[in-house]
Symmetry: none
Subunit: 212 residues, 4 copies
DNA sequence: CATGAATGAGACTTCATTCAT
DNA sequence: TATGAATGAAGTCTCATTCAT
């Protein structure tokens, strides 16, 4: 999915890496502000203060740029989440940490997430099918679903359908980036608290234990 | 945002109305299948078996066509919801009916909803701002939020933040259209049951009362 | 290979047919004068006094335009040759008529032939292989080779290798279009006489009969 | 047309000469395989395993590279032909040797010849005129024409038009490179035999003498 | 000696839209 | 009522070339 236009020798130049990062950053900004269809190479280049050709010098094409953005953001978010989950023991705490970390990442990188959402929900191949939501499998969702399932198997949670509950909670997470970008007065901290309450109620985890 | 190209005399012709409906139907199909960027006037006209010019004869432009679609689908969905809510008395039952009716409408008109989501999340004016998610106010969300607030005011519900809970539940509703289109094996009935359970738990409504 | 951009109803409009013909004529001129790489859509449109978009309105793309040119010219040339051959009885006379008609068509339509040669020898698909010289089979060459073979089978000709002789004579025919375009002083009539002499000598046909 | 980018001191470095040769070799490969339009500097550099800039360091531009290729191949071919002709005495033998040597060179360096054909038939200056087929004069053709004329003047040949016969025979020679590249099953030896037969018949040289 | 970086011109193509009929 | 014809803006991408290091 990801390929460099620049003939990457074993160690990519500092300049190259910096330029790629800069271009990706500008692409993210444009995507977050102007949406998928507004994110033309010309606009991205303009924002970066460079010529269109430079973008195509560092990325083999628009697809490569967008894939790289998705790859990069997913990578950073995934890393943060993995790190956070490693500190938690019980499934209930893992779930809460998962939601909290997701929304926290989103708070610190709202444009990144918004950009990824724009790309994922709009990018389509020449056959018209989505490029980033592969048929049936969704690793992000599957991962979270597994978390729910583990808690349930451990007897800690109530009876529920892990697949559908995962969809519900993930949608609540994903929608936040849109709110954050569109509505400056959106209170993410309060939203996070509310969502965690909902998750606890929905999973049946006993909050009393935590608060005691 | 909406203006007719056809000089509407007092009584719009039957032909005119039929043509508009037909074109909107095709637009919805294309939007649902090929996404926002795949929905060119040419493609819509091709699917309708007419020439591009006809589309522009009945709609003053692409914007007009798309807003008409949104207007139309919102209208029909709103009507169904209003009708359903009128049969319910208690806030708890209203909330459940709201969710159920939303998902039911979505089940019967998946493409309609998908099309609207595509339009709303992508259509932007020349200034780059969203055309359909007005800054701050969102009548659909506000309506549902009001429902939650009423139940809370009536003492029937637990303590929660109506605004944020409304966002959470609406996102769970809205995400279903995407699932339905992308994943043929998606079980909407099960999803509906799960979501209603979550809503009941999240609002604190006592289900025992209903089942007793 | 050939497809219309315009939604061809059962009977193509006069205007449409005329425009297509006009555009193809201009394409042929540009190809003959400026070669394959000089034949951009912009240049062709400029010569036709129309906008680039019009070209793409009548042809689904550059490939379609070039294919149509090849198809058209081959069609006309083939028709002329078939017609001419039908008047001749003996293989020797058929061969001579074949050469004569080819060069005669070339004399009257030098740019057409030149354009086709440019396209055929340069057009390549995305895989880098020639688009118009299919691997192994060459109907034009095969046809002429068959003519030679028939004369040989009838005992009228000397012993020779029909395949290779066909290549030799066809190359002499094909090269003439280049001469004609590049060198205004090129005497096609004299060239034709010389080539027919060579063909008679090479096939071993007895000219004495004709001259007696 | 030809100018060195490297500041040639009195004795060009071995490295320089080797690099130039290597680049020209790769250019020839690309031209033979992918045709004129496929022969970009990037592709040539890629095949040579060097950067585009190196190509432009050793050649002042693409034009310089291509003319160097033509110059080089023509030089080698011309040398081989001159050498071969020096061993023959009679015009008839010279002609045969000319054809044989041409096709022999082509057999041993098919890509070289193919590359030159691609360049010569496609390269054009900014004014759109061919860069390598100068108006009217063609030294290669003129040389061969002179050979024919000498045989004719010596009374050894029949009456014919040397200019046009030269064109015919040269076209048969030139076409072979295309066949060789496109059709792996092409039998060059057989083609050579057939062409020499044709040349002998066309010039009227008495083969009986040679074979006796 | 070699290259990484950057650029601008120009290629093909898509698309919404206007206009006359 | 409907459409064929035409257009211009904008999009992605390729390429030869220049420049500083």
């Amino acid at each position: 999915m990801r390929s460099n236009s620049v003939q990457t020798s074993s160690n990519p130049t500092f300049t190259e890496s910096a330029r790629r990062t800069q271009i990706m950053k500008c692409a993210i900004e444009v995507l977050a502000e102007s949406g998928y269809s507004g994110a033309s190479l010309a606009e991205i280049a303009r924002r970066a203060g460079i010529s269109k050709s430079v973008v195509l010098y560092y990325f083999s094409g628009k697809d490569d740029l967008l894939s790289s953005v998705v790859f990069d953001v997913y990578g950073r978010a995934g890393q943060a989440i993995t790190e956070a989950l490693s500190h938690e023991a019980s499934p209930g705490e893992k779930i809460a940490a998962y939601v909290r970390t997701n929304l926290h990442f989103l708070e610190e990188h709202p444009a990144d997430i918004r950009a990824v959402v724009e790309i994922v929900s709009n990018a389509r191949g020449s056959d018209g099918t989505h490029s980033f939501v592969p048929q049936g499998e969704d690793p992000v969702l599957a991962h979270f679903e597994q978390l729910l399932r583990e808690g349930q198997d451990g007897g800690e949670f109530r009876e529920f359908d892990p697949h559908h509950l995962a969809i519900i909670i993930r949608s609540a997470i994903d929608t936040a980036s849109g709110r954050l970008v569109a509505d400056p007065s959106f209170d993410l901290a309060a939203y996070t608290r509310e969502l965690i309450s909902v998750v606890e109620l929905a999973t049946g985890i006993h909050r009393s234990e935590e608060s005691s």
